[in-house]
Structures are given as C-alpha cells and as structure tokens.
Subunit: 413 residues, 2 copies
C-alpha cells in the first residue's frame, strides 16, 4: 500500500515575527512517527487570507493536511472565514460546539462573553470534533479526497485533541507502516565518548534502523528507531540490537525508555515503599517542581525546604550558624547538614540537598559560578559531591537537579 | 517601493520527526522584522532531493529565499548536489572555503578528516560567503532575479553568519520598511473580555498598526506592531495608541514589555525593599523555581516550604491538625494558615501559599481536579481566593503559579 503524504500548516503572525517558536510542528512530527506515519513538510504562514489560501492549494497533492492556529475569538483569527472560502461553504451555528464552550466556562467559574458565542460558528461543511481543553473548535473537512483537520494553536489544547480525537480517526482512515522506537537514557558520559564506545555496533545496524543522539543537561538520550511492514521482524531486531547496546554501556544507563531521571527515582521509591524530601538552595525548588509534575508523587515525596536566605538554613533545617560561618554556605559541611536536616524535618527516608552558585554573579575565586555541592542523606549516613556546571544560570539549575536525582538513584540501586 | 517577499526553507529530517524543534525560523523572523523586512512563510522539509526541488520551485515568486540546513559533511546532507541540479551548475573546489575549514580545525586543535575537504566543494555558480563559526559554507545564488541564500542549520552558526554577512547584503540589495512593536502584558482577564473592553480602540487603530492577542496560562500578551516608511510617525503613533490602551485597562496590565509576571513582582519588591516566601502544596515548588531563575532573586525571596505531605503542613508551617481535619487540606482556612505560617517561619514581608488538586486523580465532588486555593499574607492580614484551573496537571501548576504572583502583585500596588 502506498505511503500517505501528510503536511502540516501552522497559522499565526506571532510565529513569523519570532514572538513564539513553533513547537507544534515538531510535536506532531514525533507523534505521527510513533503512530506509523511520516510528516512530509511543515509550513508556517501568517494570519492572511492570501497566504492561507495559497498554502491550502499547495497541499492538494497531500492525503492529509493538519492545520493549527488562528481559531481564537479575536479579530486577528481569520482561519474560519478563509476555510469557508476554500471549501465553498458558510459559517453556521453549531449547538454542540456552543454547549462545549458553555460547559467549559461553567467548569472554570468564568462568565461567558457574547464573543465566545462566535466560537460556535463553524463552516457548514465541516465535521465538528469536540475540544474539551479549550473554547476553539476542532474541525475535519475534505476536498477532492484530501482531508484537512483543523486544531487550535495553543499547544496543550492541540496535543490533547490530537491524541484523544484526531489520531484515532487518522489511524482508521489511513494505512500506517509499523514504526517502533526504543530510547535508552544515559548519564555520566559525554556524547562523543559515548559515540566512540558504540561505534562498531552503530555501523553494523541493519539499514531500516537509525540511531540518534539527543544530548541535554548532562544526559544523552539514544533513540533507535525504524519502520518496516513486518512489525514482528522490526520488534525482534530492535530487541536484539538494544540488548547488544546495553551490554556495551551498562554503567551509564538509567532508563530503558524515554523518561526523565526523576521518573526512574519515583519508580524505585514506589517499589521500595520509601520517601524523600529536599533542601534546596541553588536549585531553588526545581527538585520539588520536577517530581511534583508526576501524578501520584505525593506517595514518595514529603516536601521541600527552599532555604534561599542563609539564616533559614539554620532556622528551618537546623544547620548550626557556626558551621555556615566557618565553612561558607557553599560547602560540604553545609550540604550534608542540610540533607540530614531536611530528612529529619520531613520524616523521610532520604534527604537530598543542594547548595551552590547559580550565577551569573556571586562567584569567588574559591567557589566560582557553577559550583554546586549535592548531598544525599539516608539511614546509612550522608554522601556528598562537588560539581561545576558552567556559567549559564538555567543550565546550572537543570544540571544540578538531574545530578541530585542521579545521586539519589545510586543510593537506591 | 514594492514590499519584497522573503521565504524561509529549513532542511532536515530531524525537524520533521520531532527530534529537534526548528528555532531558526522564529529567530530569522524576529531579526528580519527588526531590520524592516517581513518573513512571508517558513517551510520545513526533509533531506530529500524531490522535497528540496519542489520547495525551491515553489519559491520562484519570492524575492529572497533563506535556506538553512543540510550542508554538513555526512551522507544525509544532500543540499549542495541538489542546489547544483536546480541552478544547473556543478561542484568545484573553492580555495577560500578550504582555507576556512583548515583554519577552523587549527584554531580548535582538532585533526581534520578527508571528509571535511568535501565541504570546500561548492556550486560553481555561487558566491561563497565565509562562515567563521563552523565548517559548512554560506552561499549566495540567483535564478531569474530570485536570490537564494544558503546557511548551515546549526543555530549558533546560522545566527552568526546571518548577522555578520547576510543581513548587511540583504539591506544593501533590498528596501527595508521601518518596523516597531510594543508588548503589553495583562492578567486577571480572559482574552474575550479583554477584546470586548478594547474593541472600539482596536477598530480605530490606523491601518498600518496591527494588534495580536497571545494568551498563555491565564495571561494575555497584547502585541501592537506596525511598519511605516516614516519611522518617526510610526514611533509617535505607537506611543499615542499604547497610552490610550493603558488608560482603558489599567488594572489588568502588569508590564509594558514582554516579561513574565514574576519579573514584575521581583522589580516591585526590589523597589520597596521587601521580601516574600512561599508555602506550596499543589504548585510543588514552581513558585520558588520561577523566581529563582531570575539572577539576584535572593534579594527578594527568602525561601519555600513545599509541604506535599499533609502532616508537614502542621509540623513545618504550624497549621493546626484540627483545622486540616475540620476543613480539609484544600480549603480557605488551610491556605490562609499556610500563608501566615510561612511568612512567620521565613521572616518575610509576604507569605504566598497554594493548596489544591493538580490531578489527574484526587478530585472529589466538592473539590474537583483543578481546584486551587491561593492565599497571600502580609502585615495587614491574609487575602485568599479559590480557582479552578482545569484538568491538565502541568497547566494547573502553571496557572496557579501565575495567579499566585498576580495576587502578590495586587498587594504590592
């Protein structure tokens, strides 16, 4: 069966003047791939009737066109009238869309404006697909055998609708070529060294598989993926190759699927019925923030004390003032007292602590910007280590957070 | 003078499978705008000869085509041979390009491979533009009056070459129209209500100005921008219109430039020499996380107690167990006690607290998923409010964080 051609169009002036980066196209590309489809091209255009009509016409050689953006209630959102022109139809009132807008406002406890009523005006020729994430509608239209699906541009709405509603319809309508990917998460080794270690294996991979290196914040994600009509062969080949890869670099792997390291720690803690708490200085609450993004994290996470002001380290965590005085705030002694202090305070199995200089200022010759002490306290005592994570503030915070989880993981395995 | 049409083409499979988000297009759009040009469209395609030729042909109605990507030394980079096909030319050795590659390797202290020599093979018809940021060349070609400029896809190389070499050439060759934009940040009002309030003003805007609504997580950014041959007139008109807009919605504006709300709160606190601390349940440390991303935040931020486990609300923040028992963890009484508790504990001027159900589970009929109580304590007492932020966990956390800062801002003005 022939491979279908899928194109994406993103509509919005804000994307072309650089005010907003188009992340929708990449997300759609990734999720289409996973489902056995391939994105052929992604076009970004402004809120102009001419540009939209030109783009639609240029997609008449595709099978499926996924359009995002321009569906809001304000004057700059002109996608709907332009859709009517292209599909030679008119806007009519859609009761189901109206009910959806009403219930959304009701749920949020907001008053509805007359303008929101206009969001229930839809092209007569379209199939209405409910959007339970927001007030803009999702629409499905066809012209000469080409399917056009319209979604709002707000990323979380687009993702929700695509997953819940559109992807099932696309799968029903079009033929997918089995696709499978495996992700191996590594930490503690740089990209180039990793590449050298697995070079022979990589070069011997079968042609329908491809490997990608995705480095970020002191981790490297390895993605091995492929497409093959024979799904069983694809699956078994991946099993075999991943087993070979794992044997080459066992000490650097923290997960055999695409997940952040805090997820691995979460799973380990759940399995052991254990808990942790954090005392954060330079990470400023990020250790807490990332774990609490995981539903159910309250089962393993007791809480955090962000003691940004130095006296709070004494008052909240019980780090003696003379220890801070003698060794400095960014020191092994302080991070270890913070780790045991928060473990006691929060009555947790593990206490994780950070103290460092995130920058851009505040560094000294002895403790330059990027210096971070991380400590993990347990019933067996405290382990601590000093790092330098460079001079970019956000990067220091992210890398310190990941390393804190890596040190906690080492205690758990 | 007629406005020129500029199109962007990004080449690379990694952009279409979602492995890498295309940030080059937005960056080019922003920098073209600031220089008085407009990006008409941005197309992303894969490393395929057919796709590249189709894209080039579709750009023959443009004046300038900016192409990025596919110029590397590996087998999947097929832009150069395809360029030869399109421009009916052949690859020849370019001494200047070769010297550039050699000097780059020398500067970095790396050994050069034979593969890198191929990077000095350029289409005979092209004008070579040196890339001092990397080994891939920058090229300038013309066909029937349409200029094609090719740059590497690596963002920092592309940015460097565009700024140093291409933009000056573009300015010399094409006519720029002065452009200016203003951003007004609002919160506490939905997009539709905002649009109603400023409808008359918006409709009376001069035709060379346009307004965009950019809603995100409970805020709406308003962008007023325009292009006009008379830069002074443009500037003065923007001044006048922004003044009118400000007068219409003063209570909803938290910044007159594109910045997050925590930045506004940070500035207000610095000006007043005041501090705050947070007690976070459902926001899980995100209030602390976003403020600590700002360099110098230790001057205004004392710390956070993330009391994820209910007993910690009593132990760390001093919320009486019987209050929690009687009213429930997600209640006005508890959030107010948390706010005053953390204010006392951290010795701050303001205490900000959140307690809610971020979901996806944990909701009840009385307090469904998305319910969040937010409280702000000061020397004058506590204010608190209940919200429903919908059912997406990450969105609930983000919206609650922004609203907490908005409530703190209200106390500060």
């Amino acid at each position: 069966m022939k491979e279908i051609v899928i194109k994406n169009i993103s509509i919005g002036d804000e994307l072309l003047i650089g005010q907003v980066i188009n992340t929708n196209a990449a997300w759609l590309g990734e999720h289409l791939s996973s489902a056995g489809f391939q994105l052929d091209s992604a076009l970004t255009i402004g809120d102009s009737e001419r540009a939209i009509l030109d783009a639609f016409n240029a997609c008449m050689d595709a099978d499926l066109v996924l359009v995002t953006g321009g569906l809001g209630p304000t004057a700059d959102d002109i996608t709907k009238p332009t859709v009517c022109k292209f599909f030679d139809t008119e806007l009519v009132f859609c009761q189901a869309a109206y009910d959806n807008v009403v219930s959304l406002f009701k749920r949020r406890g907001f008053q509805m404006s007359e303008r929101n009523r206009s969001q229930a005006m839809l092209p007569k020729a379209c199939e209405y697909i409910p959007n339970t994430y927001g007030t803009a509608p999702c629409m499905w239209l066809e012209k000469k055998g080409v399917v056009f699906a319209f979604m709002p541009g707000v990323p979380f709405e687009m993702k929700g609708i695509f997953t819940d509603e559109l992807l099932p319809r696309i799968k029903q309508r079009f033929h997918a070529v089995p696709y499978e990917k495996r992700v191996v998460m590594t930490t503690g080794i740089g990209e180039s060294f990793l590449a050298d270690k697995i070079k022979d294996w990589e070069e011997a991979l079968p042609p329908f598989l491809s490997l990608a290196y995705l480095p970020q914040h002191g981790m490297v994600r390895l993605r091995l993926s492929g497409r093959h009509e024979d799904a069983v062969l694809l699956h078994e080949t991946l099993d075999r190759e991943i087993a070979k890869l794992t044997a080459l670099i066992p000490e650097y792997i923290f997960a055999m699927q695409d997940q952040p390291i805090e997820r691995t720690v979460f799973d380990l803690l759940i399995n052991k019925g254990m808990t942790f708490a954090s005392a954060e200085s330079c990470t400023g609450g990020n250790i807490a923030h990332v774990i609490t993004l995981i539903p159910g994290s309250s089962d393993v996470f007791k809480g955090t004390a962000v003691t940004y002001a130095t006296p709070m380290k004494t008052k909240v965590l019980g780090v003696p003032a003379e220890v801070i005085e003698k060794h400095g705030v960014v020191s092994q002694e302080v991070v270890e007292r913070m780790a045991t202090g928060v473990r006691d305070l929060m009555e947790a199995d593990f206490g994780v602590a950070t103290t460092g200089v995130a920058g851009p200022s505040g560094g000294t010759e002895e403790t330059p910007v990027g210096t971070v002490w991380i400590g993990v306290a347990s019933s067996k005592g405290v382990v601590s280590k000093c790092f330098n994570f460079g001079k970019d503030r956000e990067n220091v915070i992210n890398r310190a957070t990941i390393m804190a989880y890596e040190m906690l993981r080492q205690q758990l395995i």
